[in-house]
Structure formats: C-alpha cells, structure tokens
Symmetry: C2
Subunit: 220 residues, 2 copies
DNA sequence: ATATATTTTTAGACTTGTCTAAATTATAGC
DNA sequence: GCTATAATTTAGACAAGTCTAAAAATATAT
C-alpha cells in the first residue's frame, strides 16, 4: 500500500499533530525523523499528492482523514506487536520499541486482527499508550503528570511521556512500571523534586523524571 | 545488515543451489525472482563484492560460506514465523508463505531465538520443511515422492515439493496434510496415477499431484 | 519599517534497485 | 569449424528517497 518511508512520515506527523496546536512544520518533522528539511519537503509533496495530508508551501501540513486513518493503522500494529513482544516473548518494556518499528510495517489486516485476538484484545501497550481498534478509534484517558501532584496524594502509574531506553531502564531499576502505586511524601517547592514511596521503598525523583510519568489519582 | 533485496536473492540462490548440481545460472535466478536477467547480473556483482557468493562472468554463481550462513538465517526466520502463524494465530498452511516472506526480514537475532523458544523449538515448518538451528545446522531427512510408491505400500506425508496456494488448498480439501497416513491401493502404470486411501476415503491422485508429495514409508 | 535571522523550498546530485535495448559470449547443430 | 540461437552482460535510463548548497519566503528585532 504505502512505502516504509511514507508510513514512518505519516506516523511522525500524527504524533506531532497530537502535541502541537497549529499546522506541523517542516523542521519539526525533520527533527523527529532525524532527517533534513529538504527531504521532508520532498516527501510531504508526495503525501499531499496522495491526499494523505494538506500542504501549503511555507505553511506546514495537517493530515487528512485518510492520512489519520492510515497513521492509526500503523500505530495499532506498532503497539500490538509491542504487547506481543513483552507478554509472549518476555522482552522488557525498554527493548521493544525498535523491533516494533520494523514490525509495524508488515502488510496484512488479517494478521494484525488475529494478533489482537491472540493477545486478548489488549487496550494498552507496554508503555501505557492506548491501542486503536480496527476502526481506528482510540481511547483518550485523562492523565496527570506525577510532577503535578502534591504531598500526601496517591496515584497509579499509567504511562510514560518519553519512552527512551535509559528512562525506562531507570524506572524499572526503581521498581516503577505501569500499574505501580506511587505515594507522594513530599514535594519540594523550589526544585520541583518529589519524595515518593513505591511499595516499601522511598525514592527521590527529580522534577524532570516526575514530569515524564503519567498517573491517575487514587481518591482517598 | 543486508537489504531486503539482497536477502531475497541470497535465499533464492540457496534454494536453487540445493536442487542444481552445478553453478546457479543468471536466468535461473531471474526466473525464480520474477525479474530480468540484467537485474540479476547487477545484484550478483554486489553480492560478490560483499563476499556472499563467487561469480565468474558467464559462469554462474555459488554461495560462499558466509552467503550460505546468511541464507540459512533468513530461512530459519521464515519457517519459524510460519510456525507461529499456523500454531498461534490459526492461519492455514496455504496462507502463511507471503506473510513469512515479509517477516523473515525483521532484523533481530534476539527476537528469532525467543520466538524459537516460545514455539517450543519446532523442528519442521507447516509445510514439513526443516528449520535450521541458530548455528545454521539443518537436518535432512530421506524422503520419497508419493509417486514412487507401489501398490499396497503405506507411507506418512512429511512434506510438499511445491507449496503453491492452489496445491495446498487441494490437499487440505482432500484431508491430506503433514502426518497423514496414505495407503496406495493401486498404481496405474501407464499414467502414473495412484489410487490412495486416506483414512476412510479413497482418492484418485494424478501423477503430477503424487510427485509433489513427500512421504516416508511405513514398514509393515 | 527595514535589516537580520530563521525557516522552507528548489536545484542538482547521489545510491539502490530496477528496466529496455544493444552488444557480447557461450552453446548446439550440422 | 562455422553458423544460428540462446544466455549473459553492458549501456543508459528511470523512480524512490536522500543529501548539500543556494535561493526564496517568512519571522524577529530594533
Ligand atoms: Mn517504522
Ligand atoms: Mn509503545
Ligand atoms: Mn522475502
Ligand atoms: Mn514453509
């Protein structure tokens, strides 16, 4: 259907559109794709020709419905394969991204739907990100950043903002994962650092770390 | 490591080498790859530069040790993914080849070894072909063609020579699969056709069909 | 409002893998 | 051994995707 490169661009643009308010800029895409702005210009022209996005010179791009649907199909595959790798092949959550980056390009609707069933129709991937259904519907939960919590509040970890290797390894080392219960003991107002109790142990988390962990509050 | 195209060529050349006695010819590769001879010439020069095969102009090619090892790694992946698709995702044996053709190019030694374990270290793929181990060792069984049997001999189906969609579907329809017990009732000497009992039913198989089914004799 | 800096696009080139058409080498028939 | 045919290689082209360097458009600052 679409080339590997086209699919990677669509996915990148989709993710950028989720964060940004306005049109997605050439440079933003270039940075995310680790490529040059001139390459991006070339590619977005092709994608515009295929009606996957709208493009006005110098004004950035935004995905069409068709482009969004296509991006979501790739993201669905990416996240389902990640679940497979963690649940069935016992990979750790920091090892699966690059593999899913390859597996997401396997072409077969039938395969992805059977995989979905085989995995028990999971709702979230190993990093807490929601898995679009076969129609492209995606659930959005309201979530807070751990860094926004105050002293004595409790929350459950439901995701991570950055899924970089080192960050995920750091969390694992400190026994923080999806579903972990986190009790904020103290919130240092000046630095934004937190003292957090995870199970029996008490951790000191910098503001940067705390602002990369998504949680939902536990009412008490 | 190697491009998708390079991997497909290596695999094709490996399979051709298994059948042929001498060097593999440019045209033989072209036919198998559904491509033009001139494209083959271009590619085999590249593969020769990378020491994956030896090539003398107009004299055909043969894989080096490195080339053979690489081909076997791809074939291992192909067959393991086929087992996954059939055993875990309930695909039929005639549906898995094209998917495995894509999946075999996923780059990760770790993934293929974990997949192997997850599947219980299978020895044969859904078409009866042996799966190379992680060192590239491949078992060769001695097998006969069903067409070589005589009346009153019994045999177990252990593989197929051609794995074309239609052929596999034909076999399934007639309840022949890997492990099926086949009793030759009658062998028509002129046409080479066989009358074969499979379970309770008696089938009439043409010479062409019978010569595409691998079996091992059951001593009686 | 104009000059400067930044962003984006264009022009031209390169690599990979493919093709067609033409030239070359090998093979087979006699 | 010579000739016709078949197999193979070469030459030149093309599409996809990327790059560098230069030009054009936009944004920013005074
Ligand atoms: Mn990808
Ligand atoms: Mn993920
Ligand atoms: Mn393949
Ligand atoms: Mn097979």
């Amino acid at each position: 259907m679409y080339s590997l490169s086209e699919e990677n661009y669509l996915k990148a643009i989709y993710h950028l559109e989720q964060q940004a308010t306005a049109e997605v800029s050439t440079n933003a895409i270039a940075e995310r794709m680790q490529t040059k702005a001139s390459s991006v210009t070339d590619m977005i022209k092709k994608l515009a020709d295929k009606d996957l996005l709208t493009y006005k010179k110098y004004k950035g791009v935004s995905l069409t419905d068709s482009g969004t649907r296509t991006a979501l199909r790739i993201i669905r595959k990416h996240r389902l394969w990640e679940v497979f790798l963690v649940e069935k092949l016992q990979f750790k959550w920091h090892q699966v991204h690059d593999l899913a980056e390859q597996l997401e390009h396997i072409q077969s609707q039938e395969l992805v739907n059977r995989l979905d069933d085989f995995l028990g129709n999971p709702q979230y991937d190993p990093h807490g990100d929601p898995i679009p259904d076969s129609e492209g519907n995606i659930k959005r939960r309201d979530k807070k950043l751990l860094g926004q919590l105050e002293a004595n509040q409790s929350a459950t970890c439901i995701g991570v903002k950055s899924a970089s290797d080192d960050f995920l390894k750091y969390l694992s080392k400190n026994n923080i994962g999806i579903g972990s219960k986190l009790n904020v003991q103290e919130a240092e107002p000046f630095t934004g650092a937190l003292t957090v109790k995870v199970g029996e142990t008490t951790l000191f988390l910098t503001k940067e770390i705390a602002n990369n962990i998504y949680v939902t509050l536990i009412k008490s």
